[in-house]
Structure formats: structure tokens, C-alpha cells
């Protein structure tokens, strides 16, 4: 049997998914620890051996596509002018491209900020600022500062187009590579991140993969085409929209609770559902991704205690949970031993509570909010962000969810809540689980075989 192999070089595991194009089925999956420190191919070979051992019917791998979030993923700095406008637009471009936004700067870069930029491990800088025809002074100032620094970090320029010629002149002879793309906010509150996302992906493929020591893998498996989170976002979009005669699922949400971060992806316009609602703020992307760096099962477990009080924490235990949990001790244990796996019911219940918090808080931050204004014409409402109340499907992925019998209980945290009435959360969605961990692979497969990827997702997400 010939198979198409999808590879995901994750931060912990290298995961393989083998698809038989003829019978349109997933033949099998396997994983092994990612070995980026030594040679990334070791982990890959091990996973491949396991796959071939478990599935002797595979005689040939006809094609391979790969994505990666190994070696810390794709780390970016976003620079813009006004915080809620071009800075936010720049951040969304980075997130949409599958990056983690580690640094965010607004207005003029200062010496202190430049120092921070030089000291932080950043893979790509996105420089924005000003609408087309608007403010040029700020982006030109910041371009000069970046030229002064002359770090060997690629820069995507996606700001006021009027400044582009000047920036070309400023960047002459620089050490870094740069690309000028379309403005991420060409008009006030209008978001246009596609070109910026494309630019980020190109640099990811051409440079970042190499810098992270994953390039070696390309000799054997061909090009690594995108960061893993982008593959998940592409898969979600495909599943939502459908392809040709195969219908999609409509508006949906993917929540990925990981060891270090919780990612939320939603596909849908999120427009107001009522007439007396007025949209505020920057335009929302149709496929939106947010990443919470302080919500995770292990690496960021500590940070959870600064987000919720221990009283609030207790609310996330099941009603019939009779354990005496020592919250601080249990959190500390998970932070200090990131490979920790629960071995009994007590520990499982505690992990479930952390997962519920990750789920609940990340959704609060992702969904839109309503604010009431009293006008002489009666009550009106401001909506900031997306109205996700009509979302039909919530799909859970990530280690803590996919092999957890209480997964749907955890996912239920996304629902509308009486104590969070102003948040536009899903009203009554159905829950699906990415049990075979295929979402990223299907994003990859969808680049060449969208219809098949869609069919497989509809079959394997349960």
C-alpha cells in the first residue's frame, strides 16, 4: 500500500499520520520524542519505525508533508503605532501565521525596548504602523531604530505604504533580510493580514527551520511547509467552509490545551446578531487564533494561580470531588516536573480542574464582549470582538483532552455562563474530540487534497 505521510515536529513529540489516498482512510498514527537537540531525524526515524512495525501493510511512502512547532515554535515581535489599532492588527497577523507573540511594542521604539528586542530570542519581527496615507513618522522612526540595531532577524514591513520607499532606503546594506508587504491595517479598523501571513510563512520555510536545526529533516522528507498552529487553523477553516460538494460544519471553534499555552481558533464572521448592536474596535479575522501563554497544564501551571484565586480554583472541582486538594503543592509539582502524568483519580481530577480553568479563561479572552450604553433612544449595545453565540461545534485537542473520559465535561466550560453574561460565548454547541490527533496533519493534507482532508476530519473527529 502507498501512503501519504503527514509529519508534525511538535515541541515534545514528533507525530506521524499515514493516509491511504486510494481507500481514503487513515492507516495509522505514531509518535516519538522530538530530538531537536541532537538530530531531529532520530525522533522521526523512531516514529516511522513504529508506524511501519504496527502497519506492515504499508510498503511505500509516496509523499510527505511536514509542519513544525519544535524548538520553541515560531517566536515573533509585533510593532505598531496605536495599541488597539495597528499594534493589534500586527499581533493578529502573527497569531494567524501560527506564531507566538513574545514582544509587543507601540509608538516610538525606545532604547530600553531595543535592548529588550536584542536580548529576547525572536525569529521574525513584524513592523507595522499607520493606515495607508496616514502616519508615516512613527514607522520610519522605528525602521531607523531597527536598522541601528541591525540584528540578524528577518523583518516583515506591513505598515503605511507611503513609508515603504523611505524604509527601502533606510534598510540598504542591513544585515537582516526584509520584505515589504501590504499594510495590515490599510484603512482605519480594516484588517488585511493575508500578505503579512504569507510573508511570515515564507521566512519560516526559508530561514527559521534551518536556525532551529530542523532543516536536516528536509533532505529526507522534503520541505517543512508551515508552523503547526497555522496547519491547525487551516484545517479548522476547511472543516468549517467545506469543499466543493462536501459540506462543512459551519461556524466552529477549536481549543487546544497544551503544556505551555492554550490556543483557541474560531472560524466565523462573529457579526452582531441583533440590530441594536454597534461594532467597536478593529475588524475581526474570519479565522481567528488567540494564544494564552499563561494558561497551560505544566510549563505555565504557576501562572494559573495569578489568574484565579484559590477560592475560584476550587469552583472548578467536580461537585462530587471529595479529595482534599493542596492546590499550591499540586501546581508546583506539575511545574517542576513537566513530564508529570496523573497516575490516580486524585491527580486526574486535579488535572481536569486545571484544564477547565485553561478552557474557561482562554474563552473569556477570545470571545467578544457586549457593553450596554443608555442613549436617549433607549439601550444600545457595543460589541467588541466576535459574537460566537451561534457556534455549532467545539473541537477539543491537546494531550489533556484527547485521551480523557471527562473531556466533554472540560469542554463544556466554553458555554454561555450566567456569571459571565456579557461574554458572547457559544450557547449550545456540540462537542467533538480530535482523538487521533490529526488536526494539524489534515491542515497539511488539505494543501493538496482538501476534499479528502475534509472527509477524514468528518470521520475521525468524534
Amino acid at each position: 500500500m502507498d501512503v501519504y505521510l503527514l509529519v508534525d515536529f511538535g515541541s515534545t513529540y514528533t507525530k506521524l499520520t499515514a493516509v491511504d489516498l486510494k481507500s481514503e482512510t487513515i492507516v495509522g498514527t505514531s509518535k516519538a520524542s522530538t530530538t531537536v537537540q541532537t538530530n531531529v531525524l532520530e525522533g522521526y526515524d523512531k516514529a516511522l519505525d513504529r508506524l511501519l512495525r504496527d502497519h506492515p501493510e504499508i510498503d511505500n511512502v509516496s509523499d510527505i508533508s511536514a509542519c513544525s512547532s519544535a524548538a520553541g515554535g515560531l517566536k515573533m515581535a509585533a510593532i505598531g503605532l496605536v495599541e488597539e489599532l495597528t499594534v493589534e492588527a500586527a499581533k493578529r497577523a502573527c497569531l494567524g501565521a501560527g506564531a507566538i507573540v513574545d514582544l509587543v511594542f507601540s509608538h516610538h521604539l525606545t532604547k530600553r525596548e531595543m535592548k529588550k528586542l536584542a536580548e529576547t530570542p525572536i525569529d521574525i519581527i513584524l513592523l507595522a504602523g499607520g493606515t495607508d496615507g496616514g502616519n508615516q513618522e512613527c514607522i520610519i522612526h522605528n525602521a531607523k531604530k531597527l536598522r541601528e540595531l541591525d540584528l540578524d532577524i528577518p523583518i516583515i514591513v506591513a505598515g503605511n505604504k507611503d513609508a515603504n520607499d523611505v524604509i527601502d532606503d533606510i534598510f540598504v546594506g542591513a544585515k537582516f533580510e526584509y520584505h515589504i508587504v501590504k499594510n495590515v491595517m490599510p484603512k482605519l479598523k480594516v484588517l488585511d493580514v493575508e500578505e503579512a501571513k504569507h510573508g511570515i510563512r515564507q521566512i519560516f520555510i526559508s530561514k527559521i527551520i534551518e536556525a532551529k536545526g530542523i532543516k536536516k529533516a528536509e533532505k529526507k522528507i522534503g520541505e517543512i511547509i508551515m508552523p503547526t498552529p497555522e496547519a491547525v487553523l487551516i484545517a479548522a477553516e476547511l472543516l468549517s467552509k467545506g469543499f466543493e460538494e462536501v459540506e462543512g460544519y459551519g461556524e466552529l471553534m477549536v481549543i487546544d490545551i497544551g503544556g505551555a499555552t492554550t490556543d483557541v481558533h474560531t472560524i466565523g464572521e462573529g457579526y452582531p446578531k441583533r440590530t441594536e448592536v454597534i461594532m467597536k474596535g478593529l475588524q475581526e479575522p474570519f479565522a481567528k487564533r488567540t494564544v494564552e501563554g499563561d494558561l497551560g497544564m505544566r510549563y505555565s501551571a504557576n501562572a494559573i494561580l495569578s489568574t484565579v484565586s484559590s477560592y475560584e480554583f476550587k469552583q472548578y472541582f467536580d461537585e462530587d470531588d471529595k479529595w482534599e486538594h493542596d492546590i499550591e503543592k499540586s501546581i508546583k509539582r506539575r511545574r517542576e516536573n513537566t513530564d508529570f502524568l496523573p497516575t490516580n483519580k486524585h491527580e486526574e481530577d486535579f488535572d481536569n480542574a486545571i484544564a477547565k480553568i485553561c478552557c474557561d479563561v482562554s474563552i473569556s479572552r477570545h470571545v467578544g464582549h457586549i457593553e450596554v450604553v443608555y442613549t436617549p433612544l433607549g439601550s444600545m449595545y457595543y460589541q467588541t470582538g466576535k459574537d460566537l453565540s451561534d457556534i455549532k461545534y467545539v473541537i477539543g485537542t491537546g494531550g489533556v483532552l484527547i485521551s480523557n473520559k471527562d473531556a466533554k465535561k472540560i469542554l463544556r466550560q466554553v458555554n454561555k455562563k450566567s456569571n459571565k453574561a456579557l461574554e458572547l460565548r457559544p450557547n449550545n454547541p456540540s462537542y467533538l474530540l480530535d482523538k487521533s490527533y490529526i488536526l494539524a496533519s489534515m491542515g497539511l493534507l488539505g494543501q493538496k487534497y482538501p476534499k479528502l482532508a475534509l472527509k477524514l476530519m468528518k470521520t475521525y473527529l468524534l
Binding site: L81, V82, E84, L85, T86, G129, G130, T131, G133, G134, N135, Q136, E137, M185, K187, L188, I278, K280, V373, Y374, T375, P376, L377, M380, Y382
Partner: protein, 134 residues
């Protein structure tokens, strides 16, 4: 092309005049950045920064404008917009008051041009040409 920011401030939802101002100023050759109704001072100011606007035209029809525009000039100064011209117009105070007094009060607050009810939009164009050119 010079940019100007227009919008209706506060809890005011009167959209018709706003659309007319947008249309007329655009026809006169300005890049009009219309932030629409129910806009806060911060919305006007952020829009003016990103679009490098030379003037902000604040509309208010529901009578509470005087409260809504308090410290507008100071907030602009704080945001680095000291050179931006500020215009205000509409039914900007409660009830019928002597316009000369009203104009003085708003000018003391830092507005460059103050328009009462019934003022022609063409006057604003004349003033814009004087204040910021075209």
C-alpha cells in the same frame, strides 16, 4: 490628500448628519475617516494618530455634547496631537442658550471652530481650507 476624522460623540446615535458630513467633505477633496456614531474621545484620538489627521470634527445632536467633549483638547495634547484642529458642531448644549456664550465656552475648552444648529456644512469646508489647507 489631507485626512480628517469625523464622528458622533457619546451615547448619541444620530447617523444622518454624520453621513452628510462624510459625503460633503469627501467631495471637497478630503480623506474622510468616519468613525461613526457612539464614539468615545479615545476612538477619535486613536483614529487621528493612525491616519495622521489634521483635524477632528466632533458632532453631537442630543444635547449632552458639552459633557462628552470635556478635556478633549487636553487628551489630544496628551496623545501628541497638539497641532490637530478641533471642530465641534450640532446641538451641543442643553436647551436654547445664547450661541455667543456657547461658542466662548467651547473655545475656552480648546476647540478651534464651534458650530451651532443650522450652520451650513460649506462653512466648515471654508474653515478647513483656511486651517489645514486641502
Amino acid at each position: 490628500m489631507k485626512s480628517v476624522v469625523i464622528g458622533v460623540i457619546g451615547a448619541d446615535v444620530h447617523a444622518v448628519g454624520n453621513k452628510i458630513i462624510d459625503h460633503v467633505l469627501s467631495s471637497a477633496g478630503y480623506n474622510v475617516v468616519n468613525i461613526g456614531v457612539l464614539s468615545s474621545q479615545e476612538d477619535f484620538i486613536s483614529a487621528a494618530i493612525e491616519t495622521d489627521a489634521k483635524a477632528i470634527l466632533v458632532s453631537s445632536l442630543y444635547g449632552h455634547g458639552e459633557m462628552d467633549v470635556k478635556f478633549f483638547r487636553e487628551n489630544c495634547d496628551e496623545a501628541g496631537l497638539s497641532d490637530v484642529k478641533l471642530y465641534v458642531g450640532g446641538n451641543i448644549v442643553v436647551g436654547k442658550q445664547d450661541f455667543n456664550e456657547v461658542e466662548k465656552r467651547f473655545k475656552d475648552m480648546g476647540f478651534d471652530r464651534v458650530y451651532g444648529p443650522g450652520q451650513k456644512i460649506e462653512d466648515a469646508i471654508t474653515h478647513l481650507k483656511e486651517d489645514i489647507g486641502i
